[in-house]
Amino acid sequence: MLNLPVPDPQVMARRAEIAAHLRTIVPDGVVADDATLTAYDGDALTAYRQIPLVCVLPKTAEQVSAILSYATRENIRLVPRGAGTSLSGGALPLADGIVLSLTRMSRVLEIDIENRCIVVQPGVTNASVTRAVEAAGFYYAPDPSSQIACTIGGNVAENSGGIHCLKYGLTTHNLMGVELALLDGERVRLGGKHADDGGLDLLGIVAGSEGLLGVVTEATLRILPRAPASRTMLLGFPTVSDAARAVGAIIAEGIIPAALEFMDKRCIEAVEAFCAPGYPADAEAILICEIDGMDAEVRDAGERITAIARASNAHEIRDCRDNADRARVWSGRKAAFAAMGRLRPDMLCMDGTIPRRELPHVLSEIAAMSEHYGLGCCNVFHAGDGNLHPLIVFDVMAPGDLERAEAFGADILKLCVKVGGVLSGEHGIGVEKKALMGEMFSDPDLAQQQRLKCAFDAQSLLNPGKVFPTLHACVEQGHMHVHGGHLPYPNIPRM
């Protein structure tokens, strides 16, 4: 059903030999017994599990190169893996594939405050990047909700966002350079501490490539000076439309808040029962708005947002007075997953992006779908950039529940595309949404993307079966593989 590559029994029969060879590369970092391999059998898309053939945990870029060139020589598939927090199954292993876990490459290599950047290995966690530079008054802006666990390598692969990306951008906007290990074991530098490389912007496509193009062995990240002031406001609205109108008005006013989060009534009720963050009980929707900057900037934006909220019928406008109050307001937003998790044992977190103005329409459609499928759903929404996270709760043990939950999720994403949005804002396509790629792209569109994949990975060895709905060998793509960069038809004169 997931349409993953058919495992090659000949490769599967070679587990001991492959493990032994990998041990010659990484003597203390190869796992090849099923019991231990269960730790690597999937990611945060919990409905799918697969024990890999073997897992290797390199410590150096040289080892990564050696593993890649060995796998290429032997035609063995690989799945790169960070912390395994992907919500789209990006790190789902293959039965005949090597899991290449980067978690032991977790050193901060260089802190360069004067050039406002930090150089890290791919297994460094997102949160520890900020920890490394906060004493100097700096931080790393992308902050996916899994930031205490998720790694920079995974963030680059999924182009992770987070609550603050409305103002500060996604991973791609804060990524200055990478060292990328290619399938043949060569490592290339893309970008660095400078603005322009010249040449094609290969760094731009590596961000968000879901581990299909190469393995990041080092990343240079932009760090920013921490704003001295910030202010968190809680706004309660009698209708979804009022809240949506306030979002539009804030943006139209020229204010770019650091964060602008939306929660619907079902979500408010679930988190109130879970951790009592003190959200207004009679609100159909709330917005949590955070603004940051210099004192005067924050004061000015706060006043304008208050006026907009009033004009949009807000019946609750609360300005968090201190850090404790602010932490309480944010606790509800951060606990949304956990709160929904108490309702039913399993959850699907969807991730479409829509034009902001479509929010009231999309939410009412989702409510109707929830009714139709008989499954609960609540909505949290990065409102400023239109990124919707419907949380569908179900019970995987209940017959038919998983199928209904997936169909419900697929309907939501099709609706996102129909209103002018996209399938994924920040979680990636992985295995979860690949069957829906045809909703957004035509066959030639997808074939073009797959030809790009082939330019990096002619044997389709790196994370195959992800992102694209169908598997193609590169020769089927209508193009000759260009070996070593030589032109096809070298004898045709080109003037």
Binding site: G208, P228, A296, R299, H382, M437, M440
Partner: protein, 402 residues
Amino acid sequence: MERITPQTEAELSDAVRDAALNRLCFEIVSGGTKRSYGRVTEADRLLDLSHFSGMQTYEPDELIFTARAATPIAEIEATLSARRQMLAFAPADWGPLFGEKSGSATLAGVAAANACGSRRFKSGAVRDHLIGCRFVNGDGEAIKAGGRVVKNVTGFDLPKLLCGAFGTLGALTEMTFRVVPALSRAPAIAIRDCHADEGLSLLRKAAGLPFEATGLAYLPAQLCALSTALHAAHLSQANGLALIRIEGAEDPVIDKIARLRDIFSKQNLTVLEDDVTAALFAEIGNGTPFRQHNSDIWRLFVPSTRAYEALAESEASFWYADWAGEVLWLGLPASREVEERLRKITAKFGGSAMLMRAGAQARSRLSVFEPEPPARAALTRAVKTAFDPMHLFNPGRMYEDV
């Protein structure tokens, strides 16, 4: 050269297929202002995209617009400014550097050449604002890439790859950009009479402050004397100027300017009015000082902390710096000797050197772009072939066979 001017995407596809059959290749032009930027393209036909012009949808509330690829930037900016919005990367008007008309640059041309002004330092390059596009590839297929929302990881980010590709991967037909609110105030602090070393170090200091400066440039005395904007502000006698532009609403801007005055109280300071600041940063982003100066131009990209050393080793006497020193505009001859000197600098400090303006002969003889190590060069060629297998588009524009 035969000029082909397709009127529709279907006609464009046909033209490409026809060229493939006949083994003919194209030089792609949109506004045609930067034809002598990059290596010399030896093409059989001119593929003129100028018919793909005009705003299609502008949604100010969603902060996006979609326009046909050859729409003039001037037309886009007029439409956006009527709603107090703008393109955040400050599209540069480089035409006059190449002897072409001012104000004729188009969306596609600016994207293909990655032509950004001073705001890039804070807001990113063209690629950070192009969220979706349509283009025709070398097989004559019309391809859609990206989307119409800012936050999107649905498939590979092809729009980013097309930016800065000098038309070597495909012919753009339609582009969707995100825009930002234009802020009501944009003055700058000018630190007067500082030597390049000191000026560049002051800019770095400002870059590390949480003021979100949107322009950090340094002009040496010779350049101050040439600036029309500075002449109007009676600063053309300055012996070196470090410029810090601040943007925002009225009160926050006044506050930030006051704080900057405190921080840099030991220096000679002048606050530049918004209109002077705008004119000055337009000159800086557009390379205006080089319009009258007939030298060849190199642009050198190095880490900010290395800017002064790089400058000294470049031996340039006519130059200026933008992006807190991350880009140096250098008036140096397009000679083998200078090329070697600059490549030595980039090898030492990291970065790249690009020959921006020179005669056709020099642009054929020298590496216009920073040469790539073999593994990366092979990847570049494989990517080119993935989009344009017959090498129909702008052959040789970036590298010998790309």
